[in-house]
Structures are given as structure tokens and as C-alpha cells.
């Protein structure tokens, strides 16, 4: 038996935008065991619910993550709305889906760029982010913010998009798709990308199910798991079929994300086509009393919000289970048996968002 050595990976590493530490137990070049440790950027956002009113907490929930900020806000609002039995106007629900799907496009393009950078494909990285910049411009135009929008509120949304603007956005989406297509082709067909990721970081369907993988990580292993199938909000009127790959390696996870961008662009076009006129918010009276588990689909997978109200303007408890947290056990499974050089590619393949995980 080869001599075992422990090599630390992170918290500071070129492929990691955020700090996570892994102790890699190596036998020669082979990883045989992994010990993760998180907790470098814990901010204690969950306890803030006892100091901020339930309506102000939306701003805190949005700040859990800088990439899927809007969906965090929506997930929290959805929990409170269910507790208070509020009926949300259809237009508000459609607008939430629009910004949510646009966030997904932005997040996936960001990941594709970072992943291309991690395999040393610099030009692909820059072109992915060039397309992403157009998505950010739409965010700024419609909500005023590029990262944190402040558009979600308990009872609906705070900003409306006029019909003229929606028609303009449909054209902008077509332009984004046109620019994205050649890049998607590179990710799907290029030899360099396939050579780096194929058969790296394999996760079987059984392991994905047993270890509780979520989002693109689960879908790349053949599990058709997508919270949008729960038909929350406006997904009731918009049919979504999860994109599933069966290979279970890093390349499959990349392919799922590449295809999901097309799916999201298509969903947004359907939203623009179907969006009804009317109010964008309902009046909120009283305080939340009761508890609810709200589940929504983020770019990285399922996220769970637990809210518990006690009849005052402060909540008793607010709890978030983010997708990266659920994807860490499958990540450890993927890492076992790989070589040291593959570790950065595999860690990046679950799209880790550590700020989300530690809140």
C-alpha cells in the first residue's frame, strides 16, 4: 500500500471564488478520502429575523447570495405568503418567473465562464461573460440593480414591466440566444472541453439519490428532479420538463447547464407571451402566524426555506437549506478515486456557492 498523505485544498484556491476547505487524503496521486470543513464566512443571517420585521427580511434573504439573489427573495416571500394565506396576483407571479429564469441564465453563463477558465479556455470564458453582460443590462433596465434587485416583496413584486418594454425584451432575448448559440456549440462539441471533463467525477444515479444531490448535479446523473415540477407560482401555467443527462460525469453537468439556458430563454418568451394584465401586489395586513416549508428551484438546485411566525412582526425562526449544502455529500463521493489534478474540475462542477451554504 502506498503511503498516505494529506493535501489541503482551499480555502484559498484559484478555482474557488469563495472559501471551502477540503482535506484530501492521497495515496500517490489518487484521492481516497475527503474531509470537508466549512464555516469561513458565516454571517448569521438567519437570526436577523428576530430583529428585522418580516417585510424587511426580504432584503436580508436577497443578500444570502449574490448570484441567485432574486430567487432567494422569492422563496422567502412565498413561505410568508403561504403562512398568511395571501393570494398573489397572476401578473406578479409571471414577473417573478421572468426575473427568476433570467437569473438562471445569468448564473449558468457565469458558471460556464468560470468552468472554461478552470480548464484554461480563456477566450471561451471571456465570450461567456460577454453574453452574460447583456443579461445584467436587462436586470439593470428593469429593476435598477445588476446583482441585488429588491424587486420581490411579500404580497407580490415592487416593480412592473410595461408591455412595450416586454416586447423589447423579447427581441433582446433573441439577440442573447443568437450570441449564445456558437458558444453552446463549443461546450457541446469541442474536443478540449470533452477531453477535460468526460469520465471525470462520476456520480451514479443511486448515489445521487441516496446522498441527496439536487439541481443540475442530480439531473446529470439521470434523476429527473426539478422543483419547478411542483408548479409553484406561475409555473402552474408554464410546463417545464427537466433536462436530464445520464452520464453522471462533469461533462454531463456542463451539458445540463448549457441546455438549461435554452430552456430558460424559451420559458421567458412564454412568460412574455402569456403574462396577464392587472395588479402586481396584494395588500398585506396582519402578521404571519404558523410555519411553512417553501421549496423553489434555483440555478444550483432545490432550496428550502423554513419560516415560523408567532403573530408579531418578527419571525420566530427562519432557516435556509441551500443547494450547495445538499451537494457537498455527493461531491465527496465524486472525489473518491479521482486524481489530484481532477479535484478543481470536480469541485467546480457542482457550482459551489459557499456564501449561500454558510449564510
Amino acid at each position: 500500500m502506498a503511503k498516505r498523505t494529506i493535501v489541503p485544498f482551499g480555502p484559498q484556491h484559484p478555482v474557488l471564488p469563495e472559501p471551502i476547505h477540503l482535506d484530501l487524503v492521497l495515496e500517490d496521486e489518487m484521492v481516497v478520502d475527503v474531509l470537508p470543513s466549512v464555516g469561513f464566512i458565516h454571517r448569521g443571517l438567519e437570526l436577523l429575523c428576530q430583529k428585522k420585521s418580516f417585510q424587511d427580511m426580504v432584503f436580508v434573504a436577497e443578500r444570502i447570495c449574490g448570484i441567485c439573489s432574486f430567487i432567494h427573495g422569492v422563496g422567502y416571500c412565498q413561505g410568508i405568503e403561504k403562512v398568511m394565506n395571501l393570494d398573489i396576483p397572476k401578473r406578479a407571479q409571471f414577473l417573478r418567473v421572468f426575473w427568476g429564469e433570467l437569473s438562471r441564465v445569468h448564473s449558468h453563463l457565469l458558471w460556464l465562464g468560470l468552468a472554461a477558465d478552470a480548464i484554461g479556455f480563456e477566450s471561451l470564458f471571456m465570450h461567456s461573460w460577454r453574453v452574460r453582460e447583456k443579461v445584467l443590462a436587462i436586470f439593470e433596465e428593469t429593476t435598477g440593480g445588476r446583482v441585488i434587485f429588491g424587486a420581490a416583496k411579500v404580497g407580490g413584486v415592487r416593480i412592473d414591466i410595461s408591455q412595450d418594454k416586454l416586447d423589447q425584451l423579447a427581441i433582446a432575448l433573441d439577440e442573447i440566444q443568437k450570441e449564445y448559440e456558437p458558444l453552446a456549440k463549443v461546450f457541446l462539441e469541442d474536443y478540449t472541453v470533452q477531453h477535460r471533463w468526460s469520465e471525470v467525477g462520476y456520480l451514479s444515479k443511486e448515489d445521487a439519490h441516496q446522498l441527496g444531490a439536487v439541481g443540475p448535479t442530480a439531473r446529470a446523473s439521470g434523476l429527473p428532479q426539478d422543483m419547478r415540477k411542483l408548479r409553484y407560482g406561475a409555473y402552474e401555467d408554464l410546463e417545464v420538463e427537466p433536462i436530464v443527462e445520464t452520464a453522471g460525469d462533469c461533462y454531463a453537468r456542463c451539458v445540463v447547464r448549457v441546455k438549461e439556458i435554452y430552456q430558460s430563454l424559451d420559458l421567458m418568451r412564454r412568460v412574455i407571451h402569456k403574462i396577464p394584465a392587472g395588479e402586481i401586489e396584494t395588500k398585506v395586513t396582519g402578521f404571519p402566524q404558523g410555519e411553512y416549508f417553501s421549496r423553489v428551484e434555483q440555478p444550483r438546485g432545490e432550496v428550502v426555506y423554513y419560516v415560523k411566525g408567532n403573530g408579531t412582526k418578527f419571525l420566530d425562526r427562519f432557516r435556509v437549506r441551500t443547494p450547495t449544502f445538499a451537494n457537498i455529500p455527493p461531491l465527496l463521493q465524486m472525489l473518491k478515486g479521482c486524481t489530484l489534478a481532477d479535484v478543481p474540475a470536480i469541485v467546480l462542477s457542482i457550482d459551489p456557492c459557499i456564501s449561500c451554504t454558510e449564510r
Binding site: 432584503f59 477566450s123 433596465e141 429588491g150 416593480i159 456558437p182 463549443v186
Partner: protein, 121 residues
């Protein structure tokens, strides 16, 4: 070989396109209607109701009725539009230009003139 050249066409095309980045000092940024810059107050119209102070989620706004001052700490402000929405006399507005950097983090204090002075003016 053709597999490796998938990126080639995109790269060649971008060589002849104009720059994607805005050449900043020569070309100023274009703001949208909703761009979040900074909060500005119309001191003539303010009635010191302090609703903005109460509703501000970060406590960035401070209204002192006795001293007749309205103060905002732009380092705490998250530009959420809450104060603009609640102001009953619509004297608060979002300006599109970002606030300028400062050496010391301090609140910007605005003195609100009394009614008699407003009438005189």
C-alpha cells in the same frame, strides 16, 4: 482537427467587431430610468414626518424634528426605494448618478427650513 476549431470563428469574428467594453473616460455610462444612484431630498417640500426614518430597513435615514434636520448615511443605504415609496409628499427621489467617494464615512445632513421661512421664500 475541426473539433478544436469550434471556437475559431467566434474569435476571428470578434477581432473585427468593435469593442464590447465601454471605453470609460471617453464614453460615459448611460443610466436607465430605474438605475439606483443615490437618494436626494427636496428640502422645501419635506414635512419632517419621519416615515422614511421608520421604514428604512437599514436605519440609514435619521430625521430629527427638534433640530429640523434630515440625514442620510449613504454607506448604510441599500437603495431599496422604500423611502421613495412611503414619502407622503414625494419629496424623496432616486437620482441616477452614483454618490461620490468620500474620505470619511459620515452622514449627509440636510437642514429643513421652517414653515415661516418656506412661506417667505
Amino acid at each position: 482537427m475541426s473539433d478544436i476549431l469550434k471556437m475559431f470563428t467566434t474569435v476571428i469574428k470578434s477581432l473585427f467587431k468593435k469593442s464590447t467594453c465601454r471605453q470609460y473616460p471617453f464614453k460615459k455610462p448611460v443610466f436607465f430610468d430605474r438605475t439606483k444612484g443615490h437618494i436626494q431630498i427636496d428640502r422645501e417640500r419635506c414635512i419632517l414626518c419621519s416615515l422614511c426614518d421608520k421604514r428604512c430597513p437599514t436605519g440609514a435615514i435619521n430625521v430629527d424634528r427638534n433640530a429640523r434636520t434630515w440625514a442620510i448615511n449613504s454607506y448604510k443605504c441599500i437603495l431599496c426605494f422604500r423611502c421613495v415609496e412611503v414619502c407622503p409628499v414625494t419629496c424623496l427621489a432616486m437620482q441616477q448618478q452614483y454618490s461620490a467617494p468620500e474620505e470619511i464615512k459620515k452622514s449627509e445632513v440636510v437642514e429643513i427650513p421652517a414653515k415661516a421661512e418656506k412661506a417667505k421664500a
